[in-house]
């Protein structure tokens, strides 16, 4: 919960800007993988999906034209160390994020170490606009609550972490999280995309906390 002293906002108008609006979101080192040549040694293809139930309504995200890339996208922060995300997150953590198109399977290159999903969210409001000093700042992110552990074993080249389905209530609080195992279909899709040169191993994300 935040407290804002508006006398510092000055008279007249201020520019509403966030990290997003200032273009400060760093690019992620966890990139989508389209073919095996993009997967270096020491990297593993992580395959999974993020779902939200009920899904986002078409007009639910308010995104300016510069921020359309965040539409229907879950931002998923990972780290090889377990941390309390709310107390220790920094801008640098955004360089370790999976950009997961909502409801679509993602294939990303991740360092070949067990990791944690520390925090996930959806960008709900991102636009540059002029507001009055008394205007209510609308926080831009809706959290998807849950911390998960993903195991890896030596020799893994591709792992399937499952579909993480977040159930939300009308307040956009996470009521329940399911990790759905659709490994059979994921394997078929993986072979179609990457061939049979490497195998996809199941290593479902394990919920370990809120």
């Amino acid at each position: 919960m935040t407290r804002i002293c508006s006398r510092y906002a000055g008279l007249g108008i201020v520019l509403a800007c966030s990290l997003l609006a200032m273009g400060c979101v760093p690019s992620s080192s966890i990139k989508p993988v389209e073919n095996l040549t993009q997967v270096g040694t020491g990297s593993v293809i992580v395959v999974g999906k993020i779902e939200l139930e009920p899904g986002l309504a078409p007009d639910e995200q308010v995104l300016g034209s510069n921020f359309e890339e965040f539409r229907d996208l879950a931002l998923v922060i990972t780290d090889t160390e377990l941390r309390t995300p709310n107390e220790t997150m920094s801008l640098g953590d955004l360089t370790r994020r999976i950009n997961a198109p909502m409801g679509q399977t993602f294939y990303v290159g991740h360092e070949a170490q067990p990791f944690y999903i520390l925090k996930s969210w959806v960008v709900m409001n991102a636009e540059i606009k002029v507001v009055s000093p008394s205007a209510t700042p609308v926080p831009g992110n809706a959290p998807l609550s849950g911390i998960f552990k993903v195991e890896m074993t030596p020799g893994d080249r591709a792992i399937y972490i499952g579909t993480i389905r977040y159930h939300r209530d009308p307040f956009f609080s996470t009521e329940k999280v399911e990790v759905i195992d659709d490994f059979a279909q994921a394997t078929i899709d993986f072979k179609q995309k990457f061939g049979t040169q490497i195998a996809l191993r199941k290593s479902l994300a394990q919920p370990i906390g809120q």
Binding site: R3, S132, S134, P139, S145, S173
Partner: protein, 189 residues
Amino acid sequence: MKNRSNNIYWVTLMALFSATLLSGCASMGDGRSVDDPTNSLVFAYIDMDDAPTDMSYAKLQQVAPKSEAGYWGMGTDEGIIVNQYIPPGSFQIAHFGGNSFLMGEHQYSFPTYGRNATAVTIEQPGIYFLGAYKYQDVDTGFFEAGKFSMEPITSPTEQALLKTIVTMDWVKGTQWEARIRKRLMELSQ
């Protein structure tokens, strides 16, 4: 010159709008009759003794069903915040604020997304107590935005607050006289 005039007009308009918001003394019914039987009375209490300012306005966020305005103004009086026009739906306190001569104007905001302690889902018209809380500052770094927490308190009780609300001017001659007294009877049993 025209631009400057426009700017002055715009700033004046915004100042008037802000003043309306900050006056905070009137609950806004959004065109609903105070005697509409589908109205619910929603109220809470915030002890602002340790806050930088008093509380002169509060807003209730309507999260479902979605509405164009999205927020309901709450009447404020000595820490009590109340609105007697609330239709069925899901709501929670979104922000409140006030000002003081020394500290200036402050706004205190809950996260927009995610349920907070004041969240309520109204399916049947009634009287809904969102709780009594004490404002507490949370230490932050010098360059960080101020933060606060809302600690639940056991006093004043729902009953004590309703006894105050029933004496408010707007209650007289409305359905709320009987409905509040009925609720007080229930609480005293």
